[in-house]
């Protein structure tokens, strides 16, 4: 098993604590003038999303979590699992509902995304920061309303609903920021 010493701690490092994978969000080195040094870390549980603080003695080590971010292509869903493939190797992975969570509403078949694997099993799916999707349903814009900067809901081909400006029409392709769920522009 690989281990990380506290001196290797930095944000983004994946560690294993009490059997769960965590990612370090913040690491603070704390040392009184003449005594024991500590690393105070803020970590997020990659399974539950829960954030907690923990203090380690500097120099101690923690088991590394075998967590890897891999670029994969979304293939399809069978209703129970969502299937992804590593393009270079054709290796396929099936992710459950907890892992795909909100990400799936931004993905259509063939799209690339990042799948976080823990011990080879999908733990989380992250869509690209920006996606381009076609509007499958939205009400026609009302003439004259464009100057007010009003918005209306639009349903995208993946099922996600975003607010778009009134001048955007059904059938058009739009660019969306998946981190905020906001419309960026027409494509």
């Amino acid at each position: 098993m690989a281990n990380y010493s506290t001196s290797e701690f930095k944000s983004g490092l994946k560690i294993l604590m009490d059997g769960d994978p965590y990612v370090i969000i913040e690491n603070e080195f704390v040392k009184p003038g003449k005594g024991q040094a500590f690393n105070r870390v803020k970590v997020r549980n990659l399974k539950t999303g829960r954030v907690l603080e923990k203090t380690f003695k500097s120099g101690d080590s923690v088991e590394a979590a075998d967590v890897m971010d891999t670029n994969m292509q979304y293939l399809y869903t069978d209703g129970e699992f969502w299937h992804f493939m590593v393009p270079d190797t054709f290796e396929q992975h099936a992710a459950g509902e907890a892992a795909v969570a909100d990400a799936i509403k931004w993905l259509k078949e063939q799209d690339m995304c990042v799948v976080t694997l823990w011990n080879g099993v999908p733990l989380a799916v992250s869509p690209p920061n920006f996606v381009e999707l076609t509007i499958t349903q939205c009400d026609p814009g009302v003439r004259g309303d464009t100057a007010q900067g009003g918005t209306k809901p639009a349903t995208l081909e993946t099922g996600a609903v975003v607010k778009v400006p009134l001048f955007v029409e059904e059938g058009e392709k739009v660019r969306v920021d998946t981190r905020t769920g906001e419309y960026v522009s027409r494509v």
């Binding site: 005594g35 024991q36 105070r40 923990k54």
Partner: protein, 318 residues
């Protein structure tokens, strides 16, 4: 292209550092304290188990980069230098973070005939003088036991390890690992007591447990304490001072104990400074000395929130 070539400190901060250094030199010139320089690279290393020296390869073998200029300065004192100060770049392996850079600036000075209380007066005068318009006001002096009673709610000399660990848990500290008694005290000092000190004010904590004497002399009593102090600005520790240990035999015993602890913890074995022991044998005049972290002081003087903001080029840019 990477932006790593660009300095971390703004031009204003470079000027603030220059003004601080000029202020320090004027302060000591006015008090007749002599500026000295001593080697950064030494055959001997700090034995303190909490400090790790960086090592440099030279054509005559390995040398240790100093973690503070304390030992050679004491050799000067023993040789009759009188009051001395030094502004030194020092090095401590593995110490990096918001308030730490592995290479940093230390102001260290020694005053003959002073005890730690008289030296605290002088530290306060220097710091408040440099702060000028941002004067943090008169420093409070708090003994170590009182600081723990006030801010952690326990007696650090009487509490058991179980009580110390329960106190940490009560303050929301989730600790994983093993600590000895002093380790628990350090944890509580750095994460409970110091954060409880009044923000923006100077506090001296003095009268440390004998087990944390480092290079301070011991003061008999019940319990005996170390003639050691630390200055905090708000919760940030700025300086550590001692009424200096001058007994060569006691110093040799502390070196030996440090080396035993190093061995037990699997830390690197380091050569002891024989020159220091010889100088103490010859006779160190009665004196008090203090080391003050200048990068942190500059943070306090300028309101910087990360040490990288006060360094032209921090460790990652060096």
């Amino acid at each position: 292209m990477s932006e790593d070539w660009y300095p971390g400190a703004s031009p204003d901060l470079l000027r603030a550092r220059a003004a601080m250094l000029a202020g320090i030199r004027a302060f000591f010139a006015g008090r007749g304290v002599l500026e000295v320089e001593t080697p950064m690279l030494s055959r001997a290393a700090a034995t303190d188990p909490a400090l790790e020296s960086l090592v440099a390869g030279t054509d005559t073998g390995y040398r240790y980069l100093h973690t503070s200029p304390e030992f050679p300065m004491k050799r000067l004192l023993a040789a009759g230098s009188g009051d001395i100060y030094q502004i030194a770049r020092v090095f401590r392996a593995g110490e990096a973070g918001r308030y730490h850079n592995p290479e940093f600036s230390l102001l260290e000075w020694y005053r003959l005939g002073f005890d730690e209380h008289r030296l605290m007066d002088e530290v306060e005068a220097l710091v408040r003088g440099l702060a000028a318009a941002n004067d943090p006001g008169p420093a409070e002096r708090l003994d170590y036991a009182e600081a723990f009673r006030r801010h952690a709610g326990l007696d650090p000399f009487a509490a058991t390890v179980a009580e110390l660990s329960a106190c940490a848990a009560d303050h929301g500290i989730v600790f994983s690992g093993e600590l000895d008694r002093d380790g628990w005290l350090d944890l509580l000092m750095s994460q409970v007591v110091a954060p409880g000190l009044p923000a923006g004010r100077l506090t001296f904590i003095h009268g440390y447990p004998a087990s944390q004497a480092a290079l301070a002399r011991l003061r008999p009593g019940d319990p005996p304490t170390a003639a050691r102090f630390e200055l905090h600005w708000g919760s940030l520790e700025l300086a550590n001072g001692f009424h200096e240990l001058s007994d060569a035999d006691e110093q040799a015993a502390r070196f030996a104990r440090d080396l035993e602890i190093r061995q037990a913890r699997g830390l690197p074995e380091v050569p002891v400074d024989r020159h220091l022991l010889a100088a103490l044998q010859a006779g160190l005049p009665d004196c008090a000395g203090v080391a003050l972290g200048l990068d942190r002081l500059l943070m306090c003087l300028t309101g910087a929130t990360h040490i990288d903001q006060v360094l032209a080029f921090a460790w990652d840019k060096a």
